[in-house]
Amino acid sequence: MLEARFEEIRGALVVTPLVRRLDAEAAPRLRQTVGPLAAGRSLVVISLAHVDAVDCSGLAALVTVLKRLAPGGELRLAAANGSVRALLAATHLDELFPVFPEVAGALPSACDDTGTALAT
């Protein structure tokens, strides 16, 4: 079980991993925990506010999560720091994972913005 906060905001699943590193160690748990919750969704936002570093295994786990979304679904990253952006650029995956400065910007614009906590 990956330590993370899960919220449902305007139809989007917002996942905030509460770990410092999304790396090889966290990757299997990220797949197991987030994968089933993300299945069939059209928008999943991963907030990296607590994450200092992502490695290629962590990124590969995000690809696995993305593959489970509904057709046309999108996986967005929020609050990614410079090193994460650099990794995305180096692996040429920046087009696949749109990056937003904060979670709010990654969500669809709508008047209803009350979040519902699902699990912690």
Partner: protein, 610 residues
């Protein structure tokens, strides 16, 4: 392992065998080889330059085909010699104590290394896999280390699961067999988290020092993988020449054998009857690729840095996505619209395309190596570690051998077709040469087939590819031949190469089929190399050879009836030359044909190999 437990396997009697230490690298031997290679190259150019001026005017087309075949063969030899230019072993470095000693960017909290041993299996006998699991669990390390052994079973067999539990290993399986072995490894990587990953086949049995001896290489954060030699410990070692001669001619024989060995290095008679010993490939070919960072991964017995494997996988994934979407987005002139379309298409393609840490390809190992070497942003390094640190079983009959070689040939040619290394910008010129030499070797039928058929044209039609087989011909050809043989002898000192040369020539038909297969762009089926043979005769594999030999015999008889004893010297020289060349070919085919007629040993007691 008690004697009781390994009894019943045919390889039990090899259990105590220890691998030979590699001959120490020597600058002097390198120099002698280089001098001989330059000599052979010069004599070869001299021969060919002359050769093209003496085409037979009575059979121009035939002469040109044979001369072209000889030129292609010479180019192959030149490439081969260049690829063997230098031997340079990696310096030994102490085993790292913690993960930060192998990382470029250290972790905030350092910790012991984590190593996953991944043992892939599909249909191999459970008890055979058990031997590999046990040996993997006996790996030693001078520092605290987190070692986990995982059995990756694509056969989804409860018996394998039970065995893994009994031995204390993890058991991983998946719902499909997508991507075969590469897919199985990908699944294993997804479910594990070691910093380093050891890749083993079902029959790969590591020696305890595997990690101790190799992990030091990872202190260089650019090292992506370390390959160790694959040692088939069940290959018949044969009888050393002095002993063999002593049994036949007593003390005089032994003395003669010793003299011969002093001249050409150790010789074993009857060794490796199935031509599957890869020692020449590892001890000579791979070892000579180390200095220019071109040693490639061969699967079993390799250790990988997880981050390198995953990074290459992600980059390959992104490249395939962009290759799919680019043709469509390129047609949209408006930048904003293009970006939107690209995003939509990218997401769609990402669903379909597999993220593959090891390429889903028949030659996944060499293909993955090529991709990682060619990554211009990272400059990953590979290390070939010359000491044997694992043992495994050899293919058990000619059918198994042929399946494996056909797979290698198709896979390598297919890589050349899709991702020609000569066009990959991230490779250095020497790396291109090394990969190029490997690919070129699989084009061999283009010259071996014409050269094998040339004597038949002479026997039946009386045509020769040169104006005459006179003294000038031999004066040009023989020095080149002698220099070439000497160069090979020095380069491969104490490593037998004759058997692999025989089997390489005998593989002309198999390689020709592989070439046709790839050129016709037919789908290459993945066949698991059978390690455990039921013992089959494989006449179909040698029928082209038998036909060729029969035709040669008839041809010799026919031509002999025409060449009278008082024929002019040129006529008899042509006859003798062609007979000599045919005998050479027959001698090369002989062990290959014998292998097809040999029904090999069975696995062992039925109860064990069920």
């Amino acid at each position: 392992m008690t004697d009781q437990e390994v009894q019943g396997w045919y390889f039990t009697r090899f259990e105590e065998r220890v691998p030979a230490e590699p001959v120490p690298a020597s600058a002097a031997r390198d120099f002698v080889f280089q001098a001989l290679a330059v000599l052979a190259g010069t004599l070869g150019v001299r021969y060919l330059a002359w050769r093209w001026t003496v085409l037979n005017p009575d059979a121009v087309a035939f002469s040109i085909v044979v001369a072209a075949a000889e030129t292609l063969a010479f180019a192959g030899a030149a490439l081969f010699f260049l690829s063997l230019w230098r031997t340079e072993d990696p310096p030994a470095r102490p085993a790292p104590a913690t993960v930060n000693e192998i990382r470029d960017v250290p972790l905030p909290a350092d910790r012991p290394l984590r190593v996953d041993v991944l043992i892939t299996t599909y249909g191999e006998p459970v008890e055979l896999v058990r031997l590999s699991v046990r040996d993997a669990l006996k790996l030693t390390y001078p520092h605290p280390i987190t070692l986990r052994v995982h059995v990756l079973d694509d056969g989804r067999r409860p018996a394998v699961q039970a065995m893994a539990r009994e031995e204390g290993a993890a058991y991983l399986t998946r719902a499909t067999n997508l991507g075969y072995k590469a897919g199985n490894l990908a699944n294993g990587l997804e479910q594990t988290d070691g910093d380093l990953v050891v890749v083993c086949d079902a029959d790969t049995r590591p020696f305890p020092r595997l990690l101790e001896d190799t992990l030091g290489h990872f202190r260089d954060p650019r090292v992506a993988w370390v390959q160790t030699p694959q040692w088939f410990y069940d290959v018949d070692p044969g009888t050393r020449l002095p002993d063999w001669l002593a049994a036949r001619a007593g003390r005089a024989g032994r003395a003669l054998g010793r003299c011969a060995e002093a001249l050409v290095g150790p010789v074993a008679v009857g060794a490796d009857p199935l031509g599957c010993d890869p020692q020449a490939f590892y001890d000579v070919v791979q070892r000579c690729r180390n200095w220019c960072n071109a040693a490639f991964c061969c699967g079993a017995g390799s250790i990988h840095r997880r981050e390198a494997v995953m990074e290459a996988a992600l980059k390959g994934f992104a490249a395939r996505i962009s290759a799919e979407t680019a043709p469509f987005t390129a047609r949209v002139p408006d930048p904003a619209l293009r970006a939107d379309l690209a995003a939509a298409l990218t997401a769609q393609a990402a669903r379909r395309i597999e993220l593959t840490p090891f390429k889903f390809h028949v030659s996944e190992d060499i293909y993955t190596s090529l991709t990682i070497h060619a990554d211009a942003d990272r400059r990953w390094r590979s290390v070939y570690h010359p000491r044997v640190l694992t043992r495994m079983l050899s293919p058990q009959d000619l059918t198994a051998w042929s399946i494996q070689r056909f797979k290698y040939a198709c896979g390598t040619l297919d890589i050349a077709w899709r991702d020609n290394p000569l066009r990959l910008r991230g490779l250095s010129p020497w790396q291109k040469l090394m990969y190029g030499a490997t690919i070129y070797a699989y084009l061999a039928p283009l010259w071996t087939v014409p050269l094998l058929l040339a004597p038949l044209a002479y026997f039946f039609a009386g045509v020769t590819p040169v104006r005459s087989f006179d003294i000038t011909f031999f004066a040009h050809f023989v020095p080149f031949l002698v220099a070439t043989r000497l160069a090979v002898l020095v380069r491969a000192w104490s490593v037998p190469t004759w058997r692999s040369e025989q089997f390489h020539l005998s593989a002309f038909w198999l390689h020709l089929r592989a070439l046709a297969h790839v050129v016709a762009r037919r789908h290459i089926h993945f066949v698991v190399t059978p390690k455990i043979a039921p013992g089959r005769r494989s006449l179909a594999l040698v029928s082209p050879h038998l036909v060729l030999l029969a035709a040669t015999a008839v041809g010799i008889a026919y031509r002999a009836s025409l060449v009278s004893s008082d024929a002019p010297e040129a006529v008899s020289a042509a006859f003798v030359s062609n007979v000599f060349w045919s005998l050479h070919n027959a001698l090369c085919f002989a062990p290959f044909i014998a292998a097809a007629f040999t029904v090999r040993r069975r696995m062992g007691a039925e109860g064990v190999a069920s």
